[in-house]
Amino acid sequence: MTASTDYTAQEIIVVAGAKILENNKIVFVGTGLPMVAALLAKRTHAPGLIPVFEAGAVGPPLEVGLPISVGDSKTITGACYAKGLNAAFEMTQRGFADFDFIGGAEVDMYGNLNSTMIGDFPGGYQTPKVRLPGSGGASDMAASCERTILIVPHDKRKFSEKLQYVTSPGHLDGSPNARFKAGMQGKGPYRVITTKGIFDFEEESKRMRLIHTFPGETVESIQANTGFELLVADNVSEFTAPTQEEVRMIREDIDPNGAFVKRA
């Protein structure tokens, strides 16, 4: 269990994501790093993890390797169920997903997520400064899975007081029962994993709270790179660096072609 000394920012995100996933739970996996993290979890501490992919596959063993799309043929092989998008989201809406695991471009202190546009909404909606891909299934997962795990690269402009567009609803304005009152289900954002640390949400205020710093970061360095005031857990601790074996698994076994985990 020797600590790695040359892991990348994306690799520690993957390791942190994998560790948050619990064995024998159903996780609705979004595209990108969540897929790598789910595969790492399944091959380490959580062999009974049940991944669901929005294109329709439920519970594939993923023995044929890392899917590079949530509709990849690799998600179908050995799956327990494989219909289409409606079926996957209907299951989710019903309550079959313990977790969802999604990424986005911009997040606020309540775990609301933007993956739609950079620019002025609604005024500039039809002429965005940067047009991002759009929700995909992320907003559906965020609305209906029981608990949401988010990945957002840490950057002051991306951890914003006010999002330019709210794609995936989190704790909304943080008011009591805001999600329930809006008609949604599930407890909402549970963890945020960034390039600098791991966060949960404080029970009462629903505000983002630092619980683990990544090696090389401090509470101060993270706050300095965050566009809103962070809460800090009493027992904030440093997240253990990925082991050499974890890094090897990511690089050699899970994502050997760097489909999602870039080497740079």
């Binding site: 179908i76 289409g84 998008l85 989201f89 759009g134 929700s135 609305a143 909304l172 008609g183």
Partner: protein
């Protein structure tokens, strides 16, 4: 909840969608024709086109190429998540918008997952060249489902907050049974569905392998449906497994056998992604986002689409070794005896 006075339907309204089916010849008849004939006969300027597949999985690529050769104006395109299919249509608009143009998209996602963003989407959206309507994957899937069910709307629980409901025609109402808010999504009934499947008989009974995506819903919601298939097989073979039929014949208007019809995307049991070619296409478009002219993209279209008669001509430009390698990669994903 707002009243219905302001509702506008793209494609067909629910009553028009019903009427289209009532007047349709639903007999079991031979629907084979050339792709050129199908595109010419069943797609019109101004149509709302429902695009099958999901991101780069089983997208109707051959159909989009034929559409580009034909040229269409002012299309509305509808899908949940797509990549290459709309890229080819959008790229044609970037090359020459007097030959091909998209007026509007109703979508949840337009990008390529591990292959990155769509430079076509960025180019057109950031310059205000197409109307945008953002939904979620479940929203769009459920809208097609409502259309396929003959319903004017379908309720969903998400996304109930955030900005998506303000970007689209969803309505939020208080549930008359629980008192809690619930979203009502207007049905989508496209004028025409473009769908690639694994196998079909000449009547249009279709078998899909891997994820069904939202293909059956789109086909059954639309007034007309064009099917391309990897394999055209006998009616007897198809109906020996009725439960495997994903789209039944009355929903289909044209059946065209087009092997590799979703290439360079993936088609389960047939071929895996050709990522290199996806990147080649994107590279030609990406420079236009930085202000360069359309030369590179035009060269791509001249070579791969306008320069050939049919999709076979596109395929012929790949080395056989690459096509076989992509077959083999997919054979690994779903190993089975031939």
């Amino acid at each position: 909840m707002e009243n219905n006075a302001e509702m506008y339907w793209t494609g067909l309204s629910p009553d028009e969608a019903r009427e289209a089916l009532v007047n349709k010849d639903k007999s079991m008849r031979d629907k084979r024709m050339s792709l050129k004939e199908a595109v010419d006969k069943f797609i019109k300027d101004g149509d709302n086109v429902g695009v099958g597949g999901f991101v780069n999985i089983r997208q109707p690529i051959a159909i989009t190429h034929e559409m580009v050769r034909h040229g269409f104006k002012d299309l509305t395109l509808s899908w949940q998540s797509a990549g290459l299919g709309p890229d080819y249509l959008a790229g044609a608009m970037m090359v020459d918008d007097s030959h091909f143009s998209i007026k509007r998209v109703e979508i949840a996602y337009w990008a390529h997952e591990s292959f990155g963003l769509s430079p076509m989407f960025r180019y057109l959206a950031e310059r205000g060249k197409i109307e945008l309507e953002d939904w979620s994957n479940y929203n769009m899937s459920a809208r097609f489902k409502a259309g396929s069910m003959g319903l004017p709307f379908i309720p969903t629980r998400g996304p109930m907050a955030g900005d998506i409901p303000s970007s689209c025609r969803t309505k939020i109402m208080d549930c008359p049974f629980t008192g809690r808010p619930i979203a009502l999504l207007p049905a989508s009934n496209p004028d025409v569905a473009i769908i690639h499947v694994n196998a079909a008989d000449k009547y249009g009974n279709c078998i899909i392998r891997g994820t069904d995506c939202t293909c059956a819903e789109i086909a059954m919601a639309s007034a007309r449906t064009i099917i391309t298939c990897e394999q055209l097989v006998s009616h007897e073979l198809i109906t020996s497994s009725p439960k495997e039929v994903g789209i039944p014949f009355p929903a289909v208007d044209a059946v065209v056998e087009v092997p590799y019809g979703a290439y360079p995307g993936l088609c389960r049991r047939h071929y895996y992604f050709n990522g290199d070619h996806i990147r080649e296409l994107h590279a030609a478009a990406a420079v236009m986002c930085k202000g360069e002219p359309a030369d590179k993209l035009k060269a791509y279209y001249d070579k791969y689409i306008f320069g050939v008669e049919s999709f076979e001509g596109f395929l012929e430009q790949f080395p056989l070794s690459k096509l076989l390698a992509d077959q083999k990669a997919e054979a690994y994903n779903c190993e089975r005896l031939a």
